[in-house]
């Protein structure tokens, strides 16, 4: 059998129409889900953040004072940063301000990657190395916060001269 008759006899029109419809709807549905995945992630992230902010309120008086208030006897340490480190410092300061303290390093890194920061691991590592970010103690062990007794300066005053 040839021609249009052959198509009709083999249900060709139905198969072709359904085939096109299935392929289109599969990829369109997949595209829709993937386009909304970031939105879904944000929603999922907000839930633990909501609870952690509540937990923060409960924990702050007991376990968190060192991270927010530098001890009077503690000297302020001055550190100098390179241009790249300064950029990372400003970026992470803003980001953690939004996320709230204490923060998880993993979460901060993921957010930084999403927001397109160049070499986020390196930047965060430098801030940790220079003591600008420290691990919390007590019940918040495993989370991190900004160290308040470290100061970023443009130039470090020469201590040895001053001491003399």
């Amino acid at each position: 059998m040839y021609g249009l008759k052959a198509i009709t006899a083999a249900h060709g029109w139905t198969i072709a129409f359904l085939g096109v419809a299935v392929v289109f709807s599969t990829l369109a549905f997949l595209a829709f889900i993937m386009a909304h995945l970031t939105w879904l992630f944000d929603m999922v992230e907000r839930i633990p953040r909501f609870f952690s902010s509540k937990r923060d309120k409960v924990l702050t008086p007991k376990s968190m004072p060192p991270r927010t208030q530098p001890h009077e006897s503690e000297k302020k340490v001055q550190v100098m940063l390179t241009e790249d480190e300064k950029e990372a410092y400003r970026f992470f300061e803003l980001l953690t301000g939004k996320l709230g303290e204490p923060f998880s390093l993993q979460e901060v890194l993921e957010r930084a990657e999403e927001l397109g920061l160049r070499r986020p691991h390196y930047g965060l590592y430098q801030l940790l190395k220079k003591g600008l970010i420290k691990e919390c103690e007590g019940e918040c062990l495993g989370f991190y916060c900004w160290s308040r007794n470290v100061e970023v300066v443009e130039e470090i005053r020469n201590k040895s001269k001053k001491d003399r």
């Binding site: 059998m1 052959a6 083999a10 198969i15 289109f24 997949l30 595209a31 889900i33 993921e110 397109g116």
Partner: protein, 374 residues
């Protein structure tokens, strides 16, 4: 003297006829295109040599030919007949492919769907020309420009046509740089070819890990017959993206895919024995395959133009041509054509999105056709 005459009559020279010569020339052409022109050398060289192996005339009954039970080639051909090799190739492709271009611009996935129009149009054309529905479905899938998918579907639906279909599919895949550019130029204006695309957004690691799982479940729930191909594709990609199974991902994208490509190429090539291959049907398959490929290219381009009519953000219609799943050749052709008009227009990463969507689309199309023909 009689022994000498016997020996001479048993040599390939005495048994060969013009059909063997034609096929040997085709095999040599494939090898030439692979080596000298760099057209898909990893595929054309094994297939070309396989054609030579399959077309050395041998005595039937000695257990040498690929179609003779018990022969070595017949054992190797088992992987083609049963559709074992194509999913393993997909595993390797999944472990090599970076889906992030597609995830960054999900709307370009629709171009990969549009390019599958070639499959269904050719299916109808093949029915019109008198092919049986199973054969028509196998011929139509050539338009997906995906060799493993074409082999998989034809092994399931029309095993006797695996040779011509595979050869047609791989030939057109290799000829992407020749077939697509004229269609792309014909269907687009210079202004359209000059359209620049926005930079894709960065895709997080978490998205890249979740995608293979979500993609697999969604596609296979909608088209379960695509399970062997898509399952392996997404599994391979999960191995790559999860970063904790690097050894497996590395093996999938190197040792496994290379070994299977060799076996697939050699056996598909050897299956083109002159007496089985040189038939009217094969010629019909080659014509329909070419038509299918062209319609697929045109379908993608025209759909991109259609999207431009309704979307605020313009898409370069050349990207539609990358909807056929010849990865990454059709994306490279898009980049080349775009670059000719504007040397600073970088379309390659954007073209990878419909290109990869095309792989998924053609596997879904194969699954749909298989389920209808079962």
């Amino acid at each position: 003297m009689e022994m000498i005459l016997d020996f001479i009559s048993n040599t390939g020279f005495a048994m060969a006829d013009y059909r063997h010569v034609i096929m040997i020339l085709v095999g040599c052409l494939f090898i030439y295109l692979g080596i000298a022109r760099h057209y898909e050398p990893l595929l054309l060289i094994p297939i070309g040599f396989g054609i030579l192996m399959g077309n050395v005339p041998v005595f039937k009954g000695l257990g040498l030919g690929i179609y003779e039970k018990g022969s070595v080639l017949n054992y190797l051909y088992f992987g083609v007949r049963q559709g074992i090799y194509p999913p393993l190739i997909f595993l390797g492709i999944g472990a090599m492919t970076d889906f992030s271009y597609m995830l960054a611009q999900p709307k370009l996935m629709l171009l990969g769907a549009a390019a599958q129009l070639g499959i269904f149009t050719t299916f109808l054309c093949a029915l019109m020309l008198g092919f049986a529905p199973n054969e028509a479905a196998s011929i139509g899938i050539i338009g997906g420009a995906d060799g493993p998918t074409a082999i998989f579907l034809s092994a399931k639906l029309a095993p006797e046509l695996v040779g011509p279909i595979a050869i047609a599919a791989y030939s057109y895949m290799a000829l992407v740089p020749v077939i697509q550019p004229p269609i792309m130029k014909l269907l687009t204006t210079r202004e359209e070819r000059l359209i620049r695309m926005k930079d894709p957004r960065p895709v997080s690691k978490r998205e890249r890990i979740i995608f293979p799982v979500v993609g697999f479940l969604l596609c296979c729930f909608l088209a379960p017959a695509a399970l062997p191909l898509l399952g392996m594709l997404f599994f391979g990609n999960l191995l790559k993206e999860c970063m904790v199974a690097d050894r497996l991902a590395h093996t999938a994208r190197t040792a496994i895919i290379d070994a299977i490509t060799i076996l697939l190429g050699i056996t598909v090539g050897a299956s083109t024995q002159a007496d089985v291959f040189l038939t009217k049907k094969s010629i019909g398959i080659f014509f329909l395959g070419a038509a299918s490929f062209m319609i697929a290219t045109a379908g993608g381009i025209l759909f991109a133009k259609l999207m431009n009519l309704v979307s605020k953000e313009k898409i370069n219609p050349l990207l539609g041509a990358a909807g056929v799943s010849a990865v990454p050749d059709s994306a490279r052709v898009v980049q080349l054509i775009g670059n000719r008009e504007d040397p600073n227009n970088y379309l390659l990463m954007h073209a990878m999105a419909p290109n990869i969507a095309g792989v998924i689309g053609s596997a879904v199309a194969a699954g749909v056709l298989w389920s209808f023909m079962m």
